[in-house]
Symmetry: none
Subunit: 125 residues, 4 copies
Amino acid sequence: MDIVISPSSDYPIYRQIEENIKTEILNRKLEKNTLLPSIRQLACDLNVSVITVKKAYEELEHSGFIYSFPGKGFYVSEMSENQINIIKKKIAANTLQKQIEYLKSLGVESEDILSIIKENLSCYD
Amino acid sequence: MDIVISPSSDYPIYRQIEENIKTEILNRKLEKNTLLPSIRQLACDLNVSVITVKKAYEELEHSGFIYSFPGKGFYVSEMSENQINIIKKKIAANTLQKQIEYLKSLGVESEDILSIIKENLSCYD
Amino acid sequence: MDIVISPSSDYPIYRQIEENIKTEILNRKLEKNTLLPSIRQLACDLNVSVITVKKAYEELEHSGFIYSFPGKGFYVSEMSENQINIIKKKIAANTLQKQIEYLKSLGVESEDILSIIKENLSCYD
Amino acid sequence: MDIVISPSSDYPIYRQIEENIKTEILNRKLEKNTLLPSIRQLACDLNVSVITVKKAYEELEHSGFIYSFPGKGFYVSEMSENQINIIKKKIAANTLQKQIEYLKSLGVESEDILSIIKENLSCYD
DNA sequence: GTGGTCTAGACCACT
DNA sequence: GTGGTCTAGACCACA
Protein backbone atom coordinates (compact mmCIF):
# COMPACT_ATOMS: atom_id res chain seq x y z
CA MET A 1 0.00 0.00 0.00
CA ASP A 2 1.40 3.37 -0.97
CA ILE A 3 0.40 6.26 1.21
CA VAL A 4 1.95 9.64 0.69
CA ILE A 5 1.34 12.40 3.17
CA SER A 6 2.68 15.93 3.45
CA PRO A 7 2.68 17.05 7.06
CA SER A 8 3.24 20.64 6.05
CA SER A 9 -0.02 20.81 4.14
CA ASP A 10 -2.88 22.73 5.68
CA TYR A 11 -4.99 19.63 5.06
CA PRO A 12 -5.10 17.47 8.22
CA ILE A 13 -2.91 14.42 8.13
CA TYR A 14 -5.69 12.06 9.17
CA ARG A 15 -7.74 13.28 6.21
CA GLN A 16 -4.81 12.68 3.90
CA ILE A 17 -4.50 9.11 5.13
CA GLU A 18 -8.25 8.68 4.80
CA GLU A 19 -8.26 9.99 1.23
CA ASN A 20 -5.31 7.83 0.27
CA ILE A 21 -6.97 4.66 1.43
CA LYS A 22 -10.35 5.61 0.03
CA THR A 23 -8.72 6.20 -3.32
CA GLU A 24 -7.02 2.81 -3.28
CA ILE A 25 -10.28 1.12 -2.43
CA LEU A 26 -12.21 2.86 -5.20
CA ASN A 27 -9.32 2.03 -7.49
CA ARG A 28 -9.51 -1.63 -6.65
CA LYS A 29 -5.86 -1.49 -5.70
CA LEU A 30 -7.07 -2.65 -2.32
CA GLU A 31 -9.36 -5.60 -2.79
CA LYS A 32 -12.31 -6.44 -0.59
CA ASN A 33 -11.60 -8.14 2.72
CA THR A 34 -7.94 -7.21 2.52
CA LEU A 35 -6.43 -6.72 5.97
CA LEU A 36 -5.13 -3.18 6.32
CA PRO A 37 -1.83 -2.56 8.14
CA SER A 38 -2.31 -2.26 11.88
CA ILE A 39 -2.73 1.19 13.34
CA ARG A 40 0.61 0.95 15.08
CA GLN A 41 2.35 -0.33 11.99
CA LEU A 42 1.03 2.41 9.73
CA ALA A 43 1.70 5.09 12.33
CA CYS A 44 5.27 3.88 12.50
CA ASP A 45 5.66 3.72 8.71
CA LEU A 46 4.29 7.22 8.18
CA ASN A 47 6.06 8.58 11.22
CA VAL A 48 2.88 9.99 12.68
CA SER A 49 1.01 9.47 15.91
CA VAL A 50 -1.08 6.36 16.52
CA ILE A 51 -4.03 8.59 17.27
CA THR A 52 -3.80 10.15 13.83
CA VAL A 53 -4.07 6.79 12.07
CA LYS A 54 -6.78 5.65 14.44
CA LYS A 55 -8.84 8.69 13.50
CA ALA A 56 -8.41 8.01 9.80
CA TYR A 57 -9.51 4.38 10.20
CA GLU A 58 -12.46 5.42 12.33
CA GLU A 59 -13.67 7.84 9.68
CA LEU A 60 -13.30 5.21 6.98
CA GLU A 61 -15.23 2.73 9.04
CA HIS A 62 -17.89 5.33 9.71
CA SER A 63 -18.37 5.98 6.00
CA GLY A 64 -18.45 2.27 5.28
CA PHE A 65 -15.27 1.77 3.31
CA ILE A 66 -13.70 -0.51 5.88
CA TYR A 67 -14.88 -2.65 8.78
CA SER A 68 -13.14 -3.92 11.86
CA PHE A 69 -12.98 -6.95 14.09
CA PRO A 70 -11.84 -5.60 17.41
CA GLY A 71 -8.59 -7.26 18.34
CA LYS A 72 -7.97 -8.44 14.81
CA GLY A 73 -7.75 -5.40 12.62
CA PHE A 74 -9.36 -3.39 9.85
CA TYR A 75 -10.57 -4.89 6.56
CA VAL A 76 -11.67 -3.46 3.23
CA SER A 77 -15.46 -3.62 2.85
CA GLU A 78 -17.19 -5.57 0.12
CA MET A 79 -18.59 -3.35 -2.57
CA SER A 80 -19.93 -4.31 -5.97
CA GLU A 81 -18.44 -2.80 -9.10
CA ASN A 82 -21.71 -0.99 -9.41
CA GLN A 83 -21.64 0.53 -5.96
CA ILE A 84 -18.11 1.74 -6.51
CA ASN A 85 -18.98 3.36 -9.78
CA ILE A 86 -21.92 5.14 -8.23
CA ILE A 87 -19.75 6.48 -5.43
CA LYS A 88 -17.10 7.64 -7.86
CA LYS A 89 -19.58 9.49 -10.00
CA LYS A 90 -21.20 11.03 -6.96
CA ILE A 91 -17.86 12.33 -5.77
CA ALA A 92 -17.01 13.63 -9.23
CA ALA A 93 -20.39 15.33 -9.62
CA ASN A 94 -20.16 16.97 -6.22
CA THR A 95 -16.65 18.33 -6.45
CA LEU A 96 -16.94 19.46 -10.04
CA GLN A 97 -20.19 21.25 -9.40
CA LYS A 98 -18.69 23.28 -6.55
CA GLN A 99 -15.66 23.99 -8.65
CA ILE A 100 -17.65 25.33 -11.55
CA GLU A 101 -19.92 27.31 -9.28
CA TYR A 102 -16.85 29.04 -7.91
CA LEU A 103 -15.21 29.67 -11.26
CA LYS A 104 -18.45 31.01 -12.66
CA SER A 105 -18.77 33.42 -9.74
CA LEU A 106 -15.32 34.64 -10.74
CA GLY A 107 -16.62 35.22 -14.23
CA VAL A 108 -14.54 32.59 -16.02
CA GLU A 109 -15.92 31.77 -19.45
CA SER A 110 -17.48 28.37 -20.09
CA GLU A 111 -15.31 27.81 -23.12
CA ASP A 112 -12.18 28.48 -21.08
CA ILE A 113 -13.24 25.95 -18.47
CA LEU A 114 -13.99 23.40 -21.14
CA SER A 115 -10.70 23.85 -22.93
CA ILE A 116 -8.74 23.55 -19.68
CA ILE A 117 -10.61 20.37 -18.85
CA LYS A 118 -10.00 18.85 -22.25
CA GLU A 119 -6.35 19.76 -22.18
CA ASN A 120 -5.94 18.11 -18.80
CA LEU A 121 -7.87 15.03 -19.72
CA SER A 122 -5.76 14.53 -22.81
CA CYS A 123 -2.82 13.82 -20.50
CA TYR A 124 -4.53 10.68 -19.30
CA ASP A 125 -5.69 9.08 -22.53
CA MET B 1 -20.55 45.68 -1.62
CA ASP B 2 -22.11 42.35 -0.79
CA ILE B 3 -20.14 40.12 1.51
CA VAL B 4 -21.67 36.97 2.82
CA ILE B 5 -19.93 34.98 5.51
CA SER B 6 -20.89 31.94 7.49
CA PRO B 7 -19.13 32.02 10.85
CA SER B 8 -19.95 28.39 11.48
CA SER B 9 -18.05 27.19 8.41
CA ASP B 10 -14.76 25.41 8.95
CA TYR B 11 -13.30 27.86 6.47
CA PRO B 12 -11.79 30.79 8.40
CA ILE B 13 -13.85 33.96 8.38
CA TYR B 14 -10.95 36.08 7.21
CA ARG B 15 -10.52 33.78 4.22
CA GLN B 16 -14.20 34.11 3.41
CA ILE B 17 -13.95 37.89 3.44
CA GLU B 18 -10.79 37.68 1.37
CA GLU B 19 -12.41 35.43 -1.23
CA ASN B 20 -15.53 37.57 -1.39
CA ILE B 21 -13.59 40.73 -2.12
CA LYS B 22 -11.19 39.01 -4.49
CA THR B 23 -14.15 37.69 -6.44
CA GLU B 24 -15.75 41.14 -6.65
CA ILE B 25 -12.49 42.62 -7.89
CA LEU B 26 -12.01 39.96 -10.55
CA ASN B 27 -15.65 40.44 -11.45
CA ARG B 28 -15.18 44.14 -11.90
CA LYS B 29 -17.99 44.68 -9.44
CA LEU B 30 -15.39 46.60 -7.49
CA GLU B 31 -13.64 49.03 -9.78
CA LYS B 32 -10.03 50.10 -9.46
CA ASN B 33 -9.21 52.73 -6.86
CA THR B 34 -12.52 52.22 -5.14
CA LEU B 35 -12.27 52.93 -1.43
CA LEU B 36 -13.17 49.80 0.50
CA PRO B 37 -15.21 50.08 3.69
CA SER B 38 -13.00 50.85 6.65
CA ILE B 39 -11.82 47.96 8.75
CA ARG B 40 -14.01 49.07 11.61
CA GLN B 41 -17.03 49.63 9.44
CA LEU B 42 -16.87 46.23 7.81
CA ALA B 43 -16.17 44.53 11.13
CA CYS B 44 -19.30 46.16 12.50
CA ASP B 45 -21.41 45.27 9.44
CA LEU B 46 -20.33 41.64 9.46
CA ASN B 47 -20.44 41.47 13.22
CA VAL B 48 -16.90 40.17 13.50
CA SER B 49 -13.78 41.44 15.17
CA VAL B 50 -11.71 44.28 13.75
CA ILE B 51 -8.71 42.01 13.60
CA THR B 52 -10.50 39.47 11.46
CA VAL B 53 -11.21 42.08 8.80
CA LYS B 54 -7.72 43.47 9.10
CA LYS B 55 -6.26 40.06 8.42
CA ALA B 56 -8.39 39.70 5.30
CA TYR B 57 -7.32 43.13 4.03
CA GLU B 58 -3.71 42.36 4.92
CA GLU B 59 -3.71 39.20 2.82
CA LEU B 60 -5.37 40.97 -0.08
CA GLU B 61 -2.76 43.71 0.10
CA HIS B 62 -0.03 41.11 0.27
CA SER B 63 -1.23 39.46 -2.90
CA GLY B 64 -1.62 42.80 -4.63
CA PHE B 65 -5.36 43.08 -5.04
CA ILE B 66 -5.67 46.14 -2.84
CA TYR B 67 -3.36 48.83 -1.49
CA SER B 68 -3.54 51.06 1.54
CA PHE B 69 -2.77 54.58 2.60
CA PRO B 70 -2.32 54.37 6.35
CA GLY B 71 -4.75 56.72 7.97
CA LYS B 72 -6.85 56.93 4.83
CA GLY B 73 -8.04 53.46 3.97
CA PHE B 74 -7.79 50.54 1.59
CA TYR B 75 -8.26 50.88 -2.16
CA VAL B 76 -8.76 48.45 -5.05
CA SER B 77 -5.56 48.08 -7.09
CA GLU B 78 -5.37 49.03 -10.71
CA MET B 79 -5.32 46.00 -12.94
CA SER B 80 -5.78 45.87 -16.66
CA GLU B 81 -8.51 43.77 -18.23
CA ASN B 82 -5.67 41.63 -19.46
CA GLN B 83 -4.09 41.10 -16.06
CA ILE B 84 -7.44 40.16 -14.59
CA ASN B 85 -8.12 37.64 -17.32
CA ILE B 86 -4.72 36.10 -16.83
CA ILE B 87 -5.31 35.76 -13.11
CA LYS B 88 -8.74 34.24 -13.66
CA LYS B 89 -7.43 31.68 -16.12
CA LYS B 90 -4.54 30.87 -13.83
CA ILE B 91 -6.91 30.20 -10.97
CA ALA B 92 -9.15 28.12 -13.20
CA ALA B 93 -6.24 26.12 -14.59
CA ASN B 94 -4.80 25.45 -11.15
CA THR B 95 -7.95 24.36 -9.42
CA LEU B 96 -9.25 22.31 -12.31
CA GLN B 97 -5.94 20.54 -12.77
CA LYS B 98 -5.85 19.45 -9.14
CA GLN B 99 -9.47 18.41 -9.37
CA ILE B 100 -8.91 16.24 -12.40
CA GLU B 101 -5.74 14.78 -10.98
CA TYR B 102 -7.72 13.71 -7.96
CA LEU B 103 -10.65 12.31 -9.91
CA LYS B 104 -8.31 10.45 -12.22
CA SER B 105 -6.50 8.92 -9.26
CA LEU B 106 -9.93 7.69 -8.19
CA GLY B 107 -10.32 6.11 -11.60
CA VAL B 108 -13.18 8.27 -12.86
CA GLU B 109 -13.57 8.04 -16.62
CA SER B 110 -12.74 11.06 -18.79
CA GLU B 111 -16.09 10.92 -20.52
CA ASP B 112 -17.89 11.01 -17.16
CA ILE B 113 -15.94 14.08 -16.12
CA LEU B 114 -16.67 15.77 -19.39
CA SER B 115 -20.37 15.07 -19.28
CA ILE B 116 -20.65 16.36 -15.71
CA ILE B 117 -18.84 19.53 -16.71
CA LYS B 118 -21.04 20.13 -19.72
CA GLU B 119 -24.18 19.51 -17.75
CA ASN B 120 -23.10 22.01 -15.12
CA LEU B 121 -22.00 24.63 -17.62
CA SER B 122 -25.32 24.42 -19.41
CA CYS B 123 -26.90 25.96 -16.31
CA TYR B 124 -25.00 29.18 -16.94
CA ASP B 125 -25.53 29.78 -20.63
CA MET C 1 11.12 73.66 -4.70
CA ASP C 2 10.71 70.04 -5.62
CA ILE C 3 9.10 67.83 -3.05
CA VAL C 4 8.28 64.26 -3.87
CA ILE C 5 6.21 62.18 -1.49
CA SER C 6 4.82 58.68 -1.68
CA PRO C 7 1.67 58.38 0.41
CA SER C 8 1.79 54.60 0.22
CA SER C 9 5.13 54.41 2.00
CA ASP C 10 5.18 53.24 5.59
CA TYR C 11 7.20 56.33 6.33
CA PRO C 12 4.90 59.15 7.55
CA ILE C 13 4.15 61.83 5.02
CA TYR C 14 5.10 64.66 7.33
CA ARG C 15 8.52 63.06 7.81
CA GLN C 16 8.91 62.80 4.05
CA ILE C 17 8.17 66.49 3.65
CA GLU C 18 10.52 67.27 6.51
CA GLU C 19 13.34 65.23 4.99
CA ASN C 20 12.82 66.76 1.57
CA ILE C 21 13.13 70.29 2.85
CA LYS C 22 16.00 69.45 5.17
CA THR C 23 17.85 67.97 2.22
CA GLU C 24 17.29 71.05 0.09
CA ILE C 25 18.57 73.27 2.87
CA LEU C 26 21.72 71.21 3.44
CA ASN C 27 22.17 71.18 -0.31
CA ARG C 28 21.99 74.91 -0.51
CA LYS C 29 19.22 74.57 -3.04
CA LEU C 30 17.20 76.58 -0.57
CA GLU C 31 19.20 79.61 0.46
CA LYS C 32 19.07 81.25 3.86
CA ASN C 33 16.14 83.53 4.61
CA THR C 34 14.19 82.16 1.67
CA LEU C 35 10.46 82.27 2.26
CA LEU C 36 9.03 78.76 2.14
CA PRO C 37 5.66 78.16 0.47
CA SER C 38 2.76 78.76 2.82
CA ILE C 39 1.37 75.78 4.65
CA ARG C 40 -1.89 76.02 2.72
CA GLN C 41 -0.08 76.35 -0.60
CA LEU C 42 2.17 73.36 -0.05
CA ALA C 43 -0.69 71.27 1.31
CA CYS C 44 -2.62 72.05 -1.84
CA ASP C 45 0.34 71.31 -4.15
CA LEU C 46 1.07 67.97 -2.52
CA ASN C 47 -2.58 67.13 -2.13
CA VAL C 48 -2.23 66.46 1.56
CA SER C 49 -3.84 67.90 4.66
CA VAL C 50 -2.82 71.30 6.04
CA ILE C 51 -2.12 69.63 9.34
CA THR C 52 0.42 67.33 7.75
CA VAL C 53 2.45 70.22 6.33
CA LYS C 54 2.10 72.15 9.56
CA LYS C 55 3.61 69.26 11.46
CA ALA C 56 6.55 69.05 9.06
CA TYR C 57 7.25 72.78 9.39
CA GLU C 58 6.96 72.59 13.16
CA GLU C 59 9.52 69.83 13.32
CA LEU C 60 11.88 71.71 11.07
CA GLU C 61 11.52 74.81 13.20
CA HIS C 62 12.09 72.74 16.30
CA SER C 63 15.36 71.36 14.95
CA GLY C 64 16.45 74.80 13.85
CA PHE C 65 16.42 74.48 10.09
CA ILE C 66 13.71 77.09 9.61
CA TYR C 67 12.20 79.93 11.61
CA SER C 68 8.85 81.65 11.47
CA PHE C 69 7.28 85.03 11.81
CA PRO C 70 3.74 84.32 12.84
CA GLY C 71 1.42 85.79 10.29
CA LYS C 72 4.17 86.08 7.68
CA GLY C 73 5.49 82.60 7.06
CA PHE C 74 8.42 80.25 7.42
CA TYR C 75 11.98 81.11 6.40
CA VAL C 76 15.19 79.13 5.94
CA SER C 77 17.58 79.65 8.86
CA GLU C 78 21.02 81.14 8.49
CA MET C 79 23.76 78.56 8.77
CA SER C 80 27.43 78.90 7.93
CA GLU C 81 29.05 76.60 5.42
CA ASN C 82 30.86 75.13 8.37
CA GLN C 83 27.75 74.42 10.41
CA ILE C 84 26.16 72.73 7.45
CA ASN C 85 29.17 70.53 6.86
CA ILE C 86 29.25 69.49 10.49
CA ILE C 87 25.56 68.56 10.39
CA LYS C 88 26.01 66.58 7.19
CA LYS C 89 28.93 64.60 8.58
CA LYS C 90 27.06 63.95 11.79
CA ILE C 91 24.10 62.56 9.89
CA ALA C 92 26.37 60.46 7.72
CA ALA C 93 28.32 59.12 10.69
CA ASN C 94 25.15 58.24 12.58
CA THR C 95 23.28 56.48 9.82
CA LEU C 96 26.29 54.63 8.48
CA GLN C 97 27.29 53.41 11.92
CA LYS C 98 23.86 51.91 12.55
CA GLN C 99 23.87 50.39 9.11
CA ILE C 100 27.19 48.70 9.58
CA GLU C 101 26.29 47.53 13.04
CA TYR C 102 23.27 45.80 11.56
CA LEU C 103 25.09 44.26 8.62
CA LYS C 104 27.85 43.05 10.90
CA SER C 105 25.30 41.38 13.18
CA LEU C 106 24.11 39.57 10.07
CA GLY C 107 27.65 38.38 9.48
CA VAL C 108 28.33 40.30 6.29
CA GLU C 109 32.03 40.49 5.51
CA SER C 110 33.82 43.83 5.75
CA GLU C 111 35.25 43.44 2.28
CA ASP C 112 31.77 42.89 0.86
CA ILE C 113 30.50 46.04 2.52
CA LEU C 114 33.44 48.01 1.24
CA SER C 115 33.10 46.80 -2.31
CA ILE C 116 29.37 47.58 -2.36
CA ILE C 117 30.08 51.06 -1.06
CA LYS C 118 32.79 51.70 -3.64
CA GLU C 119 30.63 50.43 -6.44
CA ASN C 120 27.81 52.70 -5.42
CA LEU C 121 30.00 55.73 -4.94
CA SER C 122 31.49 55.28 -8.39
CA CYS C 123 28.07 56.14 -9.81
CA TYR C 124 28.37 59.65 -8.45
CA ASP C 125 31.90 60.63 -9.47
CA MET D 1 18.12 31.49 21.48
CA ASP D 2 18.67 35.07 22.49
CA ILE D 3 15.95 37.49 21.57
CA VAL D 4 16.08 41.01 22.85
CA ILE D 5 13.14 43.32 22.37
CA SER D 6 12.39 46.81 23.55
CA PRO D 7 8.65 47.24 23.85
CA SER D 8 9.01 51.00 24.08
CA SER D 9 10.64 51.27 20.65
CA ASP D 10 8.61 52.75 17.83
CA TYR D 11 9.55 49.66 15.87
CA PRO D 12 6.77 47.06 16.25
CA ILE D 13 7.55 44.24 18.62
CA TYR D 14 6.67 41.59 16.07
CA ARG D 15 9.18 43.12 13.66
CA GLN D 16 11.83 43.05 16.34
CA ILE D 17 11.23 39.37 16.98
CA GLU D 18 11.23 38.76 13.24
CA GLU D 19 14.54 40.56 12.75
CA ASN D 20 16.13 38.80 15.70
CA ILE D 21 15.30 35.37 14.39
CA LYS D 22 16.15 36.24 10.80
CA THR D 23 19.54 37.44 11.97
CA GLU D 24 20.18 34.25 13.92
CA ILE D 25 19.24 32.15 10.91
CA LEU D 26 21.49 34.09 8.55
CA ASN D 27 24.19 33.85 11.21
CA ARG D 28 23.85 30.10 11.39
CA LYS D 29 23.30 30.47 15.11
CA LEU D 30 20.03 28.71 14.37
CA GLU D 31 20.68 25.66 12.26
CA LYS D 32 18.30 24.27 9.66
CA ASN D 33 15.39 22.18 10.89
CA THR D 34 15.85 23.46 14.43
CA LEU D 35 12.55 23.54 16.29
CA LEU D 36 11.82 27.10 17.35
CA PRO D 37 10.29 27.75 20.77
CA SER D 38 6.53 27.38 20.64
CA ILE D 39 4.47 30.50 20.14
CA ARG D 40 3.17 30.28 23.67
CA GLN D 41 6.58 29.64 25.17
CA LEU D 42 8.23 32.56 23.46
CA ALA D 43 5.30 34.83 24.23
CA CYS D 44 5.70 33.93 27.87
CA ASP D 45 9.48 34.38 27.85
CA LEU D 46 9.30 37.77 26.20
CA ASN D 47 6.27 38.75 28.20
CA VAL D 48 4.25 39.66 25.13
CA SER D 49 0.99 38.41 23.68
CA VAL D 50 0.72 35.11 21.84
CA ILE D 51 -0.54 36.94 18.79
CA THR D 52 2.52 39.14 18.63
CA VAL D 53 4.79 36.13 18.39
CA LYS D 54 2.48 34.44 15.96
CA LYS D 55 2.63 37.43 13.66
CA ALA D 56 6.42 37.36 13.73
CA TYR D 57 6.49 33.63 12.92
CA GLU D 58 3.86 34.15 10.22
CA GLU D 59 5.96 36.77 8.48
CA LEU D 60 9.08 34.61 8.71
CA GLU D 61 7.17 31.70 7.23
CA HIS D 62 5.83 33.93 4.50
CA SER D 63 9.31 34.99 3.51
CA GLY D 64 10.56 31.43 3.64
CA PHE D 65 12.92 31.50 6.59
CA ILE D 66 10.90 29.05 8.63
CA TYR D 67 8.21 26.46 8.00
CA SER D 68 5.54 24.97 10.22
CA PHE D 69 3.82 21.70 10.90
CA PRO D 70 0.49 22.66 12.44
CA GLY D 71 0.21 21.01 15.77
CA LYS D 72 3.94 20.38 15.94
CA GLY D 73 5.72 23.69 15.72
CA PHE D 74 7.90 25.98 13.65
CA TYR D 75 11.21 24.91 12.16
CA VAL D 76 14.16 26.69 10.55
CA SER D 77 14.13 26.24 6.77
CA GLU D 78 16.91 24.50 4.93
CA MET D 79 19.10 26.94 3.08
CA SER D 80 22.47 26.28 1.52
CA GLU D 81 25.49 28.30 2.55
CA ASN D 82 25.25 29.77 -0.90
CA GLN D 83 21.64 30.85 -0.59
CA ILE D 84 22.36 32.47 2.73
CA ASN D 85 25.29 34.38 1.35
CA ILE D 86 23.24 35.60 -1.55
CA ILE D 87 20.51 36.82 0.77
CA LYS D 88 23.02 38.56 3.00
CA LYS D 89 24.66 40.34 0.11
CA LYS D 90 21.30 41.30 -1.31
CA ILE D 91 20.28 42.85 1.97
CA ALA D 92 23.62 44.63 2.25
CA ALA D 93 23.46 45.92 -1.31
CA ASN D 94 19.91 47.16 -0.90
CA THR D 95 20.29 48.98 2.35
CA LEU D 96 23.67 50.46 1.54
CA GLN D 97 22.50 51.69 -1.84
CA LYS D 98 19.57 53.55 -0.30
CA GLN D 99 21.82 54.92 2.37
CA ILE D 100 24.32 56.29 -0.09
CA GLU D 101 21.62 57.65 -2.33
CA TYR D 102 20.31 59.60 0.61
CA LEU D 103 23.69 60.87 1.77
CA LYS D 104 24.58 61.87 -1.77
CA SER D 105 21.34 63.80 -2.10
CA LEU D 106 22.45 65.63 1.03
CA GLY D 107 25.71 66.45 -0.70
CA VAL D 108 28.01 64.41 1.50
CA GLU D 109 31.39 63.84 -0.13
CA SER D 110 32.37 60.35 -1.27
CA GLU D 111 35.62 60.51 0.62
CA ASP D 112 33.79 61.34 3.83
CA ILE D 113 31.48 58.39 3.40
CA LEU D 114 34.40 56.10 2.71
CA SER D 115 36.39 57.23 5.70
CA ILE D 116 33.40 56.80 8.03
CA ILE D 117 32.85 53.31 6.70
CA LYS D 118 36.48 52.32 7.12
CA GLU D 119 36.61 53.70 10.62
CA ASN D 120 33.53 51.74 11.58
CA LEU D 121 34.68 48.53 9.97
CA SER D 122 37.99 48.71 11.78
CA CYS D 123 36.05 48.08 15.01
CA TYR D 124 35.15 44.62 13.80
CA ASP D 125 38.45 43.27 12.49
C1' DG E 1 -11.99 59.76 11.14
C1' DT E 2 -8.28 56.06 9.49
C1' DG E 3 -5.01 52.06 9.94
C1' DG E 4 -1.15 49.81 13.10
C1' DT E 5 -0.28 47.48 17.02
C1' DC E 6 -1.15 45.11 21.16
C1' DT E 7 -3.37 42.53 25.23
C1' DA E 8 -5.43 38.70 27.66
C1' DG E 9 -8.22 35.90 27.39
C1' DA E 10 -10.86 31.94 24.57
C1' DC E 11 -12.19 27.64 21.65
C1' DC E 12 -10.97 24.43 18.17
C1' DA E 13 -8.50 20.79 15.41
C1' DC E 14 -4.57 18.24 15.34
C1' DT E 15 -0.25 15.58 17.07
C1' DG F 1 1.19 19.61 24.18
C1' DT F 2 1.00 22.35 19.37
C1' DG F 3 -0.70 25.94 16.01
C1' DG F 4 -5.15 28.36 13.94
C1' DT F 5 -8.61 31.33 14.72
C1' DC F 6 -11.32 34.62 17.05
C1' DT F 7 -13.19 38.21 20.46
C1' DA F 8 -13.65 42.68 22.61
C1' DG F 9 -11.59 45.68 24.21
C1' DA F 10 -7.36 49.25 24.08
C1' DC F 11 -3.70 52.96 22.77
C1' DC F 12 -1.08 55.19 19.28
C1' DA F 13 0.33 57.84 15.07
C1' DC F 14 -1.46 59.81 11.19
C1' DA F 15 -4.71 62.46 7.84
